[in-house]
Chain length 207, copies 2
Amino acid sequence: MKIGIIGAGSIGGNLGRGWAKAGHEIRFGVRKPEAAAELVAECGERAQATDVQTAAAFAEVVVVSTPYNALPEVVSSLGDLEGKVIVDATNPVAWDKGPTHGSSTSAAEEIAAAAPGARVVKAFNTFGAEHLLDPKFGDRTLDVYIAGDDADAKASVAALVEALGLVPVDAGPLRNARLVEHLAVLWIHLATQGGLGRDIGFSLLRK
Amino acid sequence: MKIGIIGAGSIGGNLGRGWAKAGHEIRFGVRKPEAAAELVAECGERAQATDVQTAAAFAEVVVVSTPYNALPEVVSSLGDLEGKVIVDATNPVAWDKGPTHGSSTSAAEEIAAAAPGARVVKAFNTFGAEHLLDPKFGDRTLDVYIAGDDADAKASVAALVEALGLVPVDAGPLRNARLVEHLAVLWIHLATQGGLGRDIGFSLLRK
């Protein structure tokens, strides 16, 4: 799959590493492509760093993994997103102080409003970036909660979750991104002020 | 421990069954004590059904497991709650439509505001009542996320969680009841519209 990753921080970087290894084509969309040279080298020949708009134009799936505060500027700089799958991995939280939005909307819904025609999916926001490349906890594996209104887009993202060895859980329509964003705040609390550290993550048990 | 359970529905009933079996003293506080006769008989000699205020006055720990809509009336009818541990097991949700509160407050915080001097703890709201008596999922056990501002109160509730064979997870201060209430909505979605059924529940993995 052709994947554009906007933002080459810890989440975006590890998504790129994992997906490149799994055989996907990666374009990191960043302000300074030369600053991502080391990451690109790690990912091998299937990865390049480009400007943001080139990465988005290249991709079938565009992952937004910038800081949440950068979102409005980032989305408006991506060019035509019609029909593309947009994966929102951001966390609109005031650190350990709860979601910035309340429950009346979510970062994912904001992106959908700003990019009509794009198929927005919330995912990859409920644990630390390191777990993307090491998702096993003993005999169990970390979940990725996926919210979105387009079934095909969610299926594509679920396949990308599985390509990393994680477990996709369909969390419902895009409005449920509100729930998934709250779950991220619970993870952040437990990992930081809660004192459990970052080696934790949620798993949905099934009988 | 002396436990008052306000509301003898599926959650309150199973909490009482489990705790009576574990040796705790139970008073079900209900409108019509005679209607709870079968439940009381199941719980054995350590349980009685009384009116709401008698159950609250008896108890060190008062569990509120009524429908959320009944909360204002229930809390005002409990009498003096000074120093008592109040466990809020309610779910302020419009069924599968998200929390009724947004993120600006929570049912647990409403109870705390209505009962100054009480030590309110959110717990037991993130899965179906049947799992209270059967919390094993293969080799893993369901979590109970506990939010509250009083450490001793949370420790008491954690002990009551363990008495049922469940795993207590300290989810932080009472304001994090907002997060725990959102987690309940995610469970409800997954179990109902999400199609997974009720035999699911969250577990925090640790490395």
